[in-house]
């Protein structure tokens, strides 16, 4: 069995899979925009209350 490539993870069938997949990028995108929306809403709320 060959060694998995650098920067990869091994799946259930021992195949090397890149860590940075489109799925991971999609998750980063979603989490980032949820956090951005929360941050902007908080800043707007602080401004309204102040």
């Amino acid at each position: 069995m060959s060694e998995p490539e650098r920067g990869s993870v091994v799946d259930g069938q021992n195949r090397a899979q890149p860590c940075l997949t489109r799925e991971v990028l999609r998750k980063i995108h979603l989490v980032y925009f949820v956090l951005l929306a929360l941050t902007l809403a908080t800043v707007a709320l602080i401004e309204i209350l102040a």
Binding site: P18, L20, R22, L25, R26, H29, F33, A37, L40
Partner: protein, 220 residues
Amino acid sequence: MTRLIPKKYFDAIMVLGAILFQLLWYIAHPSQEPIVRISHAFGVLAFLYLSLVLLIGPAGKLWPWATRLVYNRRHFGVFTFFLALCHGLLQDYLTFNFNVLALVGQWSDYRHAASFPFATLGLFALIVLMAMAATSWDWAVKLLHFTRWKLLHMCVYLAYTALIFHIWLGALAYTDWPVLKYLFDLLVGLVVLTHLGAALKVRSQQRKIRENTWNSTTKP
């Protein structure tokens, strides 16, 4: 089949839009010094265009007719970078006489919002846009590989966030037009909500595909 907009027409629309915006800004601020007025118009237009560039991707996922614009997105982004560069250079000349170190050092109180050096945020966004414009070519995608290239281009969201605070703490803190604040909040809200909507739609579509695959493979 979706009909694409030829690049030359799209470029003509972008340039015409920029000229028209400069004229509108001139009408709205006739007493301002010309170089200051031109610089501010470049800045506002760059943010407006960047917001439109960022709207294209999620709009294509939410409404299929918008996918035709994806073809023009790179050109649009590179043009936006040049507008932002014009604003950055003019502001740096006007305020710091092209001294970038002074730009980073001025109002170096990073602890308080009122004295936060908002120009630094603009510089950060400009550097990100520069890296993106330099890699907005097919050979760059091949060189970096798609996922790494995509990760680099996703830094535009960091740049956009920096620009939101750059404008909030800078231009909008000193504007005498309160309506600009509402328009700005509306535009940013639209970008953020469209991205969230598209991301959630893709997520639910993928879940359905996964469930269908699972059901078809586990059926006796």
